[in-house]
Structure formats: C-alpha cells, structure tokens
C-alpha cells in the first residue's frame, strides 16, 4: 500500500436541515488499491459519506480530495468514479450490453472499441452470451453482476458500492462477496463499500471504518477493530462484548486497576485517556473468558453462577450471574472433553488483563 492516499476527506460535515449533522467533521483517507468498508447502522452517515464522494451531495463544510485534486465541487459526471447501487439501477430501455457500454458511449468511444470492452467486461463477470438480453430477464445475482461490470468497464481508479448485495439471499450474497473480492484483487482498483452487515465488512475489507450518529468512530483492519475497539460502540456493534461500568482507581502505563460499583477490582488494558478517578467502560469479549481450571492462571478471577447454557453446535454460550449482573456472557469452544454445564452450578471464571479493555467514557 502506497503512503499517498487516493481519497482524502478533511473536516467534512454535511447537514441536510441546517440543525443536525448527517456527517460531522470527518477526516478519513482511502489508500490506493485498498478495499475500505464504511460500516454502521442506518442513519450513521456512511451512505451520506459515499454520496458526497460520488458527487451526488456537496459537503456543508470541509473538502474532499481524489488524487490530490480538490473534487468537492466537481459535478458527479466529471469525477470518473464507478458506482454500484443497491437496487442495481440498470436501464430497462437498454440491453445488458448497452447498459455496460453506457459509460463508454457517453465518453464518446468508437463503436468497435465499445464492443470489445463490453465483451471483456461481460467475460469478467461471467455473463458471456447475455449481451442481448434485457436486464429484466436476468436473476438478481446476474443483474448485480451487470451493474458491477458497468461500473468497472471504463476502468475508473475508484469504485463505490452502496450496499450492493442487500437485495440478494444469503447464499448468493456469500458467492458475490467472494467474486467482488476476487475482482478487487485482480483489477487492482480501489473500492469503497457501504454496508450495515458486520460479517460482510469483516469478510471483504482491508480496512473498516465504523460510523455511528454521523461520527467516524474508528477505522482499522478488521482484526484490529475486533480485538482493539476504541469505543464502547465499536466493541458492541462488531461482535459481542460484555460491558462493565467502572471507576479507574490507578493507571500504570498500559494497565489500569478499575473498581466496579459492587466493589470488585479488575485489572485491564488502559485505552486512550483513561486516568485515575475517571469513569470507564470495561469491555470483554465472551470468548476470552476461561472457565474452571483454565481460569486458574488468569489475573482476573471471580466466582459466578450459571444462569443458562445454550448449545450452538461449534460453541457453548453460557449466561452467568457474576459481578452484580445476570447477563454476563461467555462462549466456550465445543472442544474434546468439554463437559456439560448445568444451570445453577457455581463456577469460577477468569481472563487475562490484556483481554479486557478499559475505555474512558
């Protein structure tokens, strides 16, 4: 990955009504060649960010650069960015071939050159022989492939995808995720992808940018995002987390001691501005918690009572009563020799200090 970003948002804000910000002071770089996903619930600002990059909307303030060129006020058709829409947006008055050739036709390419490039694009998305069909005659998956081919055929440096797989069923979705990822690798194009599906984001992306209520919460590689969330929102939106409110009693470099309202002290990794006397949320992934003998070597060890154990095939999900709560969740792998866990039984749980993150409020 080169050091020079392809796209740069600097202090970009967007307000539709002049009161609330759909996107607030966004600073984000997209590296050349990367697959970046904008992830967040609806209304988080991810789609607004994409439409501003595409040029459909103009930021209320701030600038957007593509390849060092300020494109903030460049109209949508002059940006040379490919776009794939959730509802495909194929032109019903044109054949599949004409749809794919559309970006070339409006750019004034010769007929022969268009035919050649369209044929290549059709082969790329494995739709050879369907050039003369109408989009309405194709299945959802095929239509989406046409939309992808149409966005790629004019060889844009940047392709935006707005929840492109939202309308497909699960199986087709997984297959299309794989195919999109393959295309990204093969064509060496930069892709910015919008989704509200965290699994999709994790599967496909080089980096994920998590949005909520108009703010960019964190941007990182999927693994880092999961293992080292920097806010309670990210910790809970991506996967599952136990969150415990606590007061920081003492900070010692990367570690801190936090005290729960119920009196227990937990040793945790201190994140960001965590300081003694401050309020913090302790977040802990359910699968990082050990049970019984496995907990013996852990820094943090507490007694607990089993409320409920659910068998999920590859894992066992156990709800515990501990540390003053009844919804403490742990996940145990369905490993060889894993015995049954009876509701009501007393157990001991434990986890390492570095697996529990203290996030300043």
């Amino acid at each position: 990955m080169s050091a020079k970003p392809l796209v740069r948002f600097t202090d970009v804000s967007k307000s539709y009504d002049g009161k609330t910000d759909a996107v607030r002071t966004l600073n984000l770089d997209v590296q050349t060649g990367e697959f970046l996903t904008l992830l967040g619930p609806s209304g988080s600002g991810k789609t607004t960010t994409l439409t501003m990059l595409a040029g459909f909307e103009q930021p209320t303030s701030g600038r957007i650069f593509v390849s060092d060129e300020d494109v903030t006020t460049v109209p949508v058709d002059k940006r040379g960015i490919g776009m794939v829409f959730q509802n495909y947006a194929l032109f019903p008055n044109m054949t599949v071939g004409e749809n794919i050739g559309f970006p070339l036709r409006v750019r004034g390419l010769a007929r022969a050159a268009i035919g050649e490039k369209v044929a290549r694009a059709l082969a790329m998305v494995r739709l050879e022989g369907l050039a003369d069909r109408r989009p309405q005659q194709l299945s959802g998956g095929q239509q989406q492939r046409v939309a992808v081919a149409r966005a790629l055929v004019f060889e844009p440096r940047l392709v935006l995808l707005d929840e492109p797989l939202g309308a497909l069923d699960r199986q087709l979705r997984e297959q299309m995720q794989y195919e999109l990822k393959q295309l990204h690798r093969r064509l060496d194009v930069t892709m910015v992808y919008v989704t509200h599906d965290q699994v999709e984001a994790m599967t496909m992306s080089d980096r994920v940018a998590v949005f909520s209520t108009g703010l960019l919460r964190q941007v990182a590689e999927p693994r880092r995002l999961y293992e080292e969330p920097e806010s309670l929102f990210v910790a809970q939106f991506l996967g599952e987390s136990n969150a415990l409110a606590a007061t920081i009693a003492q900070r010692d470099g990367a570690q801190c001691k936090a005290v729960l309202p119920t009196g227990e002290t937990i040793v945790a990794a201190a994140v960001g501005t965590c300081a003694a006397g401050g309020e913090a949320d302790l977040v802990l992934r359910p699968e990082k918690v050990a049970l019984g003998a496995a907990a013996l070597g852990c820094t943090n060890r507490f007694p607990a009572r089993v409320v409920e154990a659910t068998f999920l095939g590859d894992q066992l999900r156990v709800r515990l009563m501990t540390l003053g709560r009844e919804d403490f969740v742990i996940k145990l792998p369905n490993a060889a020799g894993q015995g049954a866990i009876e509701p009501g039984s007393a157990v001991e749980i434990g986890w390492r200090a570095e697996d529990c993150r203290a996030l300043a409020r």
Partner: protein, 283 residues
C-alpha cells in the same frame, strides 16, 4: 369448497340480471341510433357509397378534413411539449408540491368548455387584456389577430387538452425510478445525455399514449373551434353539424361522423399495438 364452486354460476347469473336494464338501455339509446347513422350514410340521398366518394371528390370536405388533421396535429404537438415540461416539473417536485400542482392541473376540469371558450374570446379579442398589455409594453403597434381564426382555435384547444397530456405523462413518469438518472450521471453522462439516453426513452409509452389521446379528442372538437374560430375555421365536427342543422344533407353528415368514428377506433387500435392501453389510463 364444493358448495362455493357450485354457487358461483348462480351468482354470475344474478350479476347479469342486475346488469340487464343498463345494457338494454345502452343498446337502445346508443347502438340503435349509431346503426341508424351508419345506415343513413349509405342510403341517403340514394343507396350506395356515393357519400363516401365525396371524401375524394369534394374539395370542401377535403378542406374540412385537412383543417381538422392539421389543427389536431399542432394541438397534439404543443400539448405534448408543454405537458411534458409540467409533468417533469411535477415529477421532480416534493410530494407536497406535487399534490398542489396536481390540484392546479385538475382545476380546469371543473369549468365547462363553453365558459372557457368565452373566457378566451374575451381575453384574446382585439381590445382585450392580452392585446392591450402587449401594446402598452410597446411590443406591438397593432392588435394581433389572436381569435376568430386558427390561432384562436389552437390556443383554446391546447388549453383544454393540456391536462389530459399532463396527467397521462405524469402517470407514466411516476413509474420511472429517478435513481436511474442519478446512475447515468455517476457513469459519466451529462444532464442532457442522462435525459436523452435514459429518461426520455422511458417516457416513450407516456408520449405515445398522451399523443394518441390528445389527437383523438382533438379530432372531434366542436365547441372550441366553433366559438374561437368565428365560423372561419371549419373542423369536421362543426362541418357535420352544419350539414345536419342547416343544409339538411344527412347522408354527408352521417358519412363524416362515421369516418371520424372509424379514424378514432383505428387510432385506438394502433395505440393498443404499441402500449398497454389499460395500464396507460390506469384502468
């Protein structure tokens, strides 16, 4: 389930029985006179197709037909152009504005064509407000002849036909995903290209439907040309009226009425070959 299936024909019979008086009445007051019109056109003044031969021999009949076709064609063209602009503006407006605009489009339907024609007569006459305003602005020295001629007929007819064009086009445009235009723009099309290559082709059924509707309705116009034409612009409906009321040439009058009806049915049939008529008019 079986009893329901058995009872069904009984229900259908009752349904037809209820319809019967209305159907009989329609046959009596509509089809019988119509048959009489057809019959008269080939029997009066003497049996045969002599009346129909006048379509090719009588210059005054031909002039009336040509005038009718020309006025209907110009009315259709102008109503489509203006209607397209209004319908497009409605499509692009917010839903509240759309409702208000729809109300404004429907408003003229509540006013009789007769009243509207007299209103135009007053507005457009030599010393009427339009000519006075134009002269006061210094744009013209002499009053324009805007009424009691073909210009007047066209203005009046376009005014009457415009809502039909707008409503048909608007119904068609409402079914078009505006996202397609946005998609075209994102793929590099200028505003004009996006309109010409995507939006305009998608409104083709609406244009054909609105065009046929306006053309057909224009062919049979009577009141507007009679009033705004000042007797100088003879369209076919007025020509028929003159034959039947004044010159008493019933054969010629009924022949022209039949010709008009066949032309209208032919146009509707041609339309049905191109677009789904039922869907077009919201049936």
């Amino acid at each position: 389930m079986l009893s329901l299936a058995e009872r069904r024909p009984t229900g259908r019979t009752a349904y037809w029985l209820i319809m019967l008086p209305a159907v009989a009445m329609l046959l009596l007051i509509y089809l019988v006179p119509l048959a009489d019109v057809l019959l008269t056109s080939v029997t009066d003044p003497k049996p045969g197709f002599g009346n129909y031969a006048m379509l090719f021999t009588s210059s005054s009949v031909q002039r009336a037909l040509l005038t009718t076709l020309r006025i209907a064609a110009i009315t259709t063209a102008v109503a489509l152009l203006l209607g397209y602009l209004v319908a497009y503006a409605m499509r692009a407006a917010s839903s509240r504005t759309q409702r208000f605009m729809l109300f404004c489009v429907l408003l003229p339907f509540w006013i009789s064509v007769l009243v509207r024609s007299f209103a135009w007569l007053t507005l457009l006459r030599g010393s009427g407000p339009v000519n006075n305003a134009l002269m006061a602005m210094g744009l013209i020295d002499e009053p324009l002849a805007l009424v009691r001629n073909e210009t007047g007929v066209l203005i009046g007819m376009i005014h009457v036909m415009l809502p039909y064009a707008i409503l048909t086009l608007y119904a068609n445009m409402r079914g078009i995903d505006i996202g397609l235009v946005a998609a075209a723009r994102s793929l590099g099309a200028s505003r004009l290209q996006a309109f010409r290559m995507v939006f305009l082709p998608l409104t083709r059924p609406g244009l054909i439907g609105a065009g046929t509707l306006v053309f057909i309705l224009s062919l049979g116009f009577y009141v507007t040309p009679a009033l705004l034409g000042g007797g100088k612009v003879l369209m076919i409906a007025e020509y028929v009226a003159v034959q039947i009321n004044d010159t008493l040439r019933w054969g010629l009058g009924t022949m022209l009425a039949t010709t008009l009806m066949i032309a209208v049915l032919g146009a509707l049939w041609a339309l049905s070959r191109v677009v789904d008529v039922k869907r077009l008019f919201g049936a």
